[in-house]
Amino acid sequence: MKEPIIEFTGVYKSFGSKEIYNDLNLKVYRGETLCIIGGSGTGKSVMIKMLVGLLKPDKGSVKAFGKEISNLREHEMIEIRRRIAMLFQNGALFDSLTVAENIKYPLVEHKWGTHEEMDFRVKEVLEQVGLPGIEHQKPSELSGGMRKRVALARSIAVKPEVLLYDEPTTGLDPLSIRRINGLILELQRKTGVTSMVVTHEMPSVFTIANRIAMVKDKAIAFIGNREEAKNCKEDWLSNFIAGGEGVLDEEDLSTK
């Protein structure tokens, strides 16, 4: 049995009176790509934010690399953040910095090496995401898809072991979606990185996922591989998977 690289056990999380999770249990294994699906506002992003210490669980345990991280202080999280990188929904690139400076940011913070080594790494990751030669551009000059790829380049610059994607393909055109999905697959194949992808784009899920987890009713309601997800008889899952397809019925059109 493989050892889990990430483990949520009995996690409870609420914002004021709004309960997000009342018993979250999930294991993620080294090298796999796990897609987290679920309706809007169910707390998918909250789950991955707990892994990088942006949010803390109210109760329960969050482990990464076998170590409890929910009680770590901010400066103790730095090492974890070198090993777990996050790709934000809109990229979250620093608009005052150039593409190269953005990618260099984590390299400088984690003391990657000399300036030459960092410049070399910047070039390398930009090539890896298929955007060579844009070092001196500002994020505002880039398209949405390009921004996401630069953000991905920034996330993988320090060679993390786990990559968390927060809706990586939302709001992109089909070609960009294809490219991002390709990158996620390629990264997994070439670097063996473990990925958690929060998304509700079902075609993407079936392209990239090794396993799929669905968040429903403040917990993980389903977890399994692609075949198991497709064959699952539960209405809430099959409806979610088929959600984007077919003709709308009266209920969908009702404004009442």
């Binding site: 990088v52 901010e74 953040r81 990188a85 620093f94 608009d95 913070e109 984690h110 320090v158």
Partner: protein, 249 residues
């Protein structure tokens, strides 16, 4: 009331965290210099303009008001004292606070709602060190400098009215000003302005970093910042003045 206490508490915590970062190596010289340029150098023109006209208008009022008592020749003294002790630091702080504070909040607020502040943390850095500390240090340092500028230009405005309206000689106007302003008056003003600089930066950064939601929230936070900063400056001015009076007399 509870919210007020919470706000005050988190401002104190932010201040302490900022203070810790000031002394940590390596020093973030470049970030501080950038903020000195943005907050200080870019504010000199507004400081000069407002202090010059304030000097002119206060002197005009005194020149007329003192005339029935035959005391209008003291216009210069009164104006310079008023400017160095109160108007220089307070007016500069209100104007620069509005200009720079709104800028800080809008910038940090936008960074907060676009998750850039979270990104700084995720990339292994500390947003307080990268964003708050340089702004607080720069403003605390630059406000006294701007106040010296405002004092000089304001007094110049006062002197011009004394010379051209009241009719005193140029040498008398300037000699009278130098004579009436003591070094402790200048120090009073400068100490106050350093505090104002700190208040401007810490409030603006705190409001900005706590902006949530979207563009509307950033807009609202920016408006709030200007109000909070102005009110804080006026209230703090009273207490600081009383405190400094008790200490220095």
């Amino acid at each position: 009331m509870i919210r007020l206490l919470e706000t005050f508490g988190s401002l104190v915590i932010l201040s302490l965290d900022t203070l810790k970062e000031v002394f940590k190596r390596p020093f973030e010289f470049q970030l501080i210099i950038d903020q000195l340029a943005k907050g200080g150098v870019d504010s000199w023109s507004i400081t000069v303009l407002t202090s010059f006209f304030t000097g002119l208008v206060i002197a005009s009022q005194f020149a007329i008001g003192l005339e029935p008592f035959g005391a209008s020749m003291y216009t210069g003294s009164l104006v310079s004292l008023g400017i160095v002790r109160e108007l220089g630091p307070v007016l500069t702080a209100l104007l620069v606070g509005g200009r720079v504070g709104a800028g800080f909040t809008a910038e940090l607020g936008t960074m907060s709602v676009t998750e850039q502040i979270d990104a700084i943390r995720c990339l292994g850095a500390n947003p307080i060190r990268k964003l708050v500390m340089p702004r607080v240090v720069a403003m605390t340092f630059v406000m006294p400098l701007l106040t010296i500028l405002a004092d000089l230009i304001g007094c110049l405005g006062g002197a011009l009215i004394s010379i051209f309206e009241v009719g005193v000689t140029t040498s008398y106007a300037f000699a009278q000003m130098v004579e009436s302003i003591g070094i402790q008056d200048v120090i009073h003003g400068l100490i106050k302005s350093a505090f104002f600089g700190y208040f401007i930066a810490i409030i603006a950064c705190w409001v900005g970093m706590n902006a949530r939601g979207g563009a509307e929230s950033v807009g609202k936070s920016t408006t709030n910042t200007v109000v909070y900063i102005s009110v804080t400056i006026l209230i703090a001015d009273f207490f600081l003045t009383r405190f400094l009076m008790a200490v220095y007399g």
